[in-house]
């Protein structure tokens, strides 16, 4: 049964050093506030999982919290590379970063398998692709009917998943609308989960077939308006594209990065997110 908590308490209780953690979001609803809280709490030795690690993963890596990343596309979408991640991979700064790299299809299937309680995902993939040669977690099974060789990857089963959603009701049922990504799968695949939401309402008024996580599948809910900024929350505020463009420069220099992190993350609070989306609300 879902618990309602301040974000700082939820991160403290659910994220431990050494955990396998997913802060999931697919362009939409990226849980920035939750990741920033994890950074303030200085968690260590994390294995971070995400299909599309972007700014928050650049930040977690740049702050030296990550030993390993499981992913399928590590870029600042539409802008370029993740410069803190590059620095870790290419130069070991601030520490070396181990990579387990997949394709999107593999990761999406692996989340699906995790939610479905399976040990692995089976799909048609990786044919002729060199990742299959450098990642020992890409294997195969033969179809027992046709003999076709299909790809297999281990299911994703995080210790804890963080997602951001539009709404929860007072019982703790969570509603996600618009671009859904793999967030439902991340929560269902994870042992523990924390969901930050834009608002808590009396009645979700959800479509019968909407993407909804029943209260008993959710660990903790935290009210954090604006908590997806600079990504967006459909129906609440638009994507802060200028922020993504500006990040490229901030992340290009170690000192600029550290001082930006101090000002905007270490010395900030979850409550600051509400103000950051002020001007983005009118366009939603």
């Amino acid at each position: 049964m879902a618990k309602f908590q301040p974000l700082a308490d939820a991160v403290l209780e659910n994220l431990n050093d050494g955990d396998v953690v997913a802060f999931e979001g697919f362009t939409h609803l990226i849980p920035h506030a939750a990741a920033h809280e994890a950074i303030r709490q200085g968690k260590k030795d994390l294995t971070i999982i995400r299909m599309t690690p972007d700014l928050i993963y650049d930040q977690l890596i740049g702050m030296g919290m990550v030993k390993r990343m499981i992913f399928s596309y590590a870029g600042n979408p539409g802008v370029g590379l993740l410069r803190r991640m590059r620095d870790a991979v290419e130069n070991g700064w601030p520490q070396a970063l181990e990579l387990e790299e997949h394709s999107h299809a593999a990761m999406a299937n692996a989340y699906e398998a995790g939610a479905a309680g399976l040990p692995c995902a089976v799909f048609r993939g990786y044919r002729g692709a060199e990742l299959a040669k450098v990642n020992s977690n890409v294997r195969s099974v033969a179809c027992p009917f046709t003999g076709e060789v299909l790809a297999a990857v281990p299911a994703v089963r995080p210790d804890v998943a963080f997602i951001h959603a539009q709404k929860a009701d007072r019982k703790g049922n969570v509603l996600i609308e618009g671009i859904l990504g793999v967030q439902k799968e991340a929560v269902l695949a994870a042992t523990r989960s924390v969901v930050t939401v834009e608002e808590i309402v009396d009645d979700l008024n959800a479509h019968p077939n909407a993407c909804l996580l029943p209260d008993w599948t959710v660990g903790t809910i935290c009210l954090v308006p604006g908590g997806a900024h600079p990504s967006y929350a459909h129906g609440y505020y638009v994507r802060d594209n200028a922020y993504y463009i500006a990040w490229d420069k901030i992340a290009s220099d170690r000192e600029a990065f550290l001082s930006w992190m101090k000002e905007n993350v270490l010395d900030a609070t979850p409550e600051d997110f509400g103000g950051r989306v002020g001007k983005l609300r009118s366009a939603a």
Partner: protein
């Protein structure tokens, strides 16, 4: 033909847009593919189905998304599905007619690298990685590739096979059991290329207006094969150019008209 002077980039996007048909179902990458697909939709292919890997099916954005998941894509889509469904029912299900890819490195057989420059374990440059490309390349009926020519990009040997084109050429795809056609078209800022029916090597079949064979070779890292008969790509029409420029202008306004991170907090 347009009186407006167009850039090589614009010619590339417009040439790519022309290759798309009204009944195509395109899996769209970001950047030039996205612009080409939307120009096609706004000109000769109004019913084209554009699919972005974020799960948006049949989307018709008024501005180009910066990412593959901007809200505009969902607002204008026929429907939006979860990402596992996108890769299972829609891509793997064989419903995509054209997968549109860009490349950091490309070889003559349409193999693509977007993973690393240098050695995988100790890369010189760590690129974003494949994302959807490995399975887009395998499951789409055909692959179109679009990129600007450069010696760094069009290379004799790519550093990493992010996605498989025609491998070593010939029947290499069939030998791996891949039933789809693979790369059937390459559109650069200088020319249009199609694979040789036998060897599958990309061959120049059309050169853009004002471009010479020497220009094409000078910006390509392998010895270019030219078709026996080479056409000149028709220059952009007024409508095509206006459509592209309007789209870019709307996009620029939309992406910059928002607070920047330094001041937002």
């Amino acid at each position: 033909m347009s009186d407006m002077v167009h850039t090589p980039d614009e010619m590339m996007t417009i040439a790519a847009s022309r290759a798309l048909k009204n009944d195509d179902v395109c899996f769209v990458g970001i950047g030039a593919p996205s612009a080409a697909c939307n120009v096609a939709r706004l000109t000769h292919a109004p019913d084209i189905t554009l699919i972005y890997e974020s799960g948006t099916i049949g989307t018709a954005p008024d501005v180009l998304p910066l990412s593959i998941g901007d809200g505009e894509l969902c607002d204008t889509a026929v429907t939006t599905v979860a990402v596992p469904e996108m890769f299972r029912y829609w891509l793997q299900g064989g419903r995509i007619t054209i997968g549109f890819l860009g490349a950091a490195q490309l070889d003559r057989f349409g193999n693509i690298n977007t993973t690393v420059i240098g050695d995988y374990a100790n890369p010189k440059t760590r690129l974003p990685g494949g994302g959807g490309a490995p399975e887009i390349a395998g499951s789409s009926r055909e692959i179109f590739i679009t990129m600007k020519q450069s010696l760094r990009g069009m290379v004799e040997k790519i550093d990493f096979f992010t996605s498989f084109g025609h491998g070593e050429g010939g029947d290499h795809r069939q030998r791996l059991g891949i039933e789809t056609q693979g790369p059937t078209l390459l559109i650069t800022d200088l020319a249009i290329w199609r694979p040789d029916p036998e060897t599958k090597e990309f061959t120049v079949v059309s050169i853009h207006p004002g471009v010479t064979r020497e220009d094409v070779q000078a910006t390509c890292g392998w010895t270019v094969k030219f078709a026996d008969r080479i056409e000149e790509t028709p220059p952009p029409t007024d409508l095509e150019l206006k459509t592209l420029r309007d789209l870019k202008a709307r996009t620029k306004a939309a992406h910059q008209g928002q607070p920047d991170p330094g001041k937002a907090a």
